[in-house]
Symmetry: C2
Subunit: 241 residues, 2 copies
């Protein structure tokens, strides 16, 4: 899968890739201790981890731009995460710009899965991620500091998370229900930095949860190019071309 | 530069990329606080940072595999770092597998620059990085623990660093002389984790030095896709397609 015909001397080595598609929680995933960087480290020499996080975006906008980001191509996309909902679930009256109605959110997710399948990214390579829970008291302070009111509610975000899980069931994709997992038998506040985005601990939690799902999917990916001790240094061409 | 004709609805958005090509110090660059991850964070929404680090490799092997990794293509490669020498400079008698003679090391670097130019990556987009200094006492412990003798010397690594700087001068590329910079008026031991590889502080040092060189080169790169507050939510197609 990783090899194809190519030019001078050796065959072109196609490096597979994972695409992380989402909102700010994806865009920020390469910050210190971020979940994207952690994934890139685990998958070094196996595939690239490509950040397509778009801060502030909802599924209505994401659905429009996805075909501009991923097309049918020679590149091997071994997995895609779709991680939206934190903006869709903003309250309609207080944040009409980012808000997307629940039913449309679900339909947009389905539409994105449908599009990916049309470019040969099958459902077994897609992982939906629900928004994390919202810590209202802390997020409210952020809103007030910007002269706004609390513009999201945890219970509402939960409805979007449930809808996301249902879409995954309907479409046969994998899902990581961050909203539920982070609230399971525990105080979830330490997973968040500002009530909405992930703290270092939240990043580690997401990285571990995601890895437990990706590990199986990616177990067949070979390490690219030989381990240096295996290179025949008397005839490196034989090992490397 | 970043846009091209494409499919359904909108134009295909080509995401530019930087390729980090090197040995283990590059391969490990997405570890916690790593210089590659730091670069990816700084360049989010502008370009991908692609890790092509090959632990243990020298320039003789790197030269062979480079045409398998980077070809003339529609992808826009806005910068390439070439960061070898830590293995080439291993002592011939004690580490004949990885050792590459000084003259050949310089010739291999030139050959890689020549190849990149042949695939339209001009010298102003290439940054050579010299190996970092070696802390012999600490690295010797690593070697002894593996049943080996000290297999590298800081003065020898310095000769390779000087040769690398000279290649950059001859070829008109940029260069980051890590060996010299890390030893300038200071004890360099805190920059290294095991006498050879970078510590957290060494990663930060390299990230800052590299950024000071890349910032100018990449200042013209636009932020890809509109900032969310600039999306016309009454007509998102107009903003996003």
């Amino acid at each position: 899968m990783a090899l194809a015909e190519a030019g001078a001397g050796g065959r072109l080595l196609r490096w597979p890739r994972i695409v992380l598609f989402g909102d700010s929680i994806t865009e920020f995933s390469f910050q210190e201790n971020g979940w994207g960087a952690s994934l890139a480290e685990r998958l070094v020499r196996k595939c690239d981890v490509v950040n397509r996080g778009l801060s502030g975006y909802n599924t209505r906008w994401a659905k429009l731009v996805l075909p501009r980001l991923i097309t049918k191509s020679a590149e091997s996309t071994v997995a895609v995460t779709i991680f939206f909902g934190a903006n869709d679930s903003a309250l309609k009256d207080l944040n009409p710009k980012q808000h997307v109605p629940l039913e449309e959110y679900a339909a947009n997710l389905k539409s994105m899965i449908h599009y990916l399948k049309s470019v040969d990214i099958t459902e077994d390579r897609i992982i939906l991620i629900t928004p994390p829970p919202l810590q209202e008291s802390v997020w409210e302070k952020e809103c007030l500091a910007k002269g706004d009111q609390l513009n999201r509610r945890n219970a509402t975000t939960g409805e979007y998370a449930h809808a996301c899980v249902q879409v995954a069931r309907d479409c046969g994709t994998d899902v990581l229900d961050l909203w539920t997992l982070m609230q399971k038998n525990q105080d979830f506040s330490s997973y968040l930095s500002d009530g909405l985005h992930l703290s270092t601990k939240g990043n580690s939690f997401l990285a571990a949860q995601l890895w437990s799902r990706l590990e199986k999917k990616l177990s067949a990916l070979p390490s690219l190019l030989p381990y240096w001790r295996d290179v025949d240094h008397t005839n490196p061409e034989a090992s490397l071309l």
